[in-house]
Symmetry: C2
Subunit: 169 residues, 2 copies
């Protein structure tokens, strides 16, 4: 622990690191919220849609052959019940369809309709400009640096931090 009369012993330093990490997390969260709230607001006012719907359609746009509900669930990082609801809404609006997957009678294959693809492409183009605008405050070098740090963070969490607590004592 402490050597001489130092108040800056291992425990104090750990606490201090904890605070730094906490502050960094709060800043990360704030940045994400800033971007996200703007995207949500604009999707609503410009296209009358929502971010989850947009994200689901984005996945389908990348997979012309369609995706299973379970596949959507894992890619969007949400539960199956949630995907069911989102797909219901999009299907009612004629933007996606559920087709049965021949080989497995339990499974469904969700696809964009022609109209759905048209609508998504229109939104995606504008969406990409919004994002570029929001990240334009960073130079190319800064953006690369940020991307690298985030990647380090992501890998560390995926490799070392379980969803449910097990690691910490």
């Amino acid at each position: 622990m402490s050597a001489d009369t130092r108040p800056i012993d291992a425990e104090t330093r750990a606490t201090s690191d904890d605070h730094h990490a906490l502050r960094l997390w709060l800043r990360l969260y704030a940045c994400t919220s800033l971007v996200e709230s703007r995207v949500r607001r604009r999707l609503q006012s410009r296209f009358g849609t929502t971010l989850p719907r947009f994200d689901l359609m984005a996945q389908l746009d990348r997979s012309p052959q369609g995706l299973r509900m379970s596949e959507l669930s894992s890619r969007l990082m949400v539960t199956g019940g949630n995907v069911t609801g989102l797909t219901d809404n999009l299907e009612d609006e004629g933007l996606v369809v559920r087709e049965s997957d021949g080989t497995d009678r339990r499974a469904l294959r969700v696809k964009l309709t022609r109209e759905g693809r048209r609508v998504f492409r229109t939104m995606a183009a504008e969406h990409e400009r919004w994002i570029a605008e929001m990240f334009a405050g960073l130079s190319a070098r800064e953006a690369r640096s940020l991307a690298e740090r985030l990647n380090t963070l992501k890998q560390h969490i995926l490799d070392n931090v379980p969803l449910d607590e097990r690691g910490t004592e």
Copy 2:
């Protein structure tokens, strides 16, 4: 596509930048989701509470004199109606109280109860360790760099990007 007549004109480059920004945004979002889902899950399994409740209590813990509903709303970056609901729940559980703010009869002052403060402090200590654990993959230098980039991003958005679209074109 083309040979001499460069296809890498301003527009092409812009599109490419857009893609880079989009990728960076997806990575930022993924990192936040990773941390957030772990915090949510653990708050639920360890303490039977939720992240929004925890965040609200965290704000109150920093302000022993209490906070107005509107102040909570802006600090948590959520709508007033949302704060009303969260406060209702926490009040039912005896963790916070609403007191009338003497000078302005419209306003309320929300405070942690003694029990609320005790409960929050317990959770906060553990929460801070979770966060430190998740950010431990970054060196001190990397963490500083990340914090700086995020700050640049945040300031750019706050200064230049309105919540509702006005700026673009």
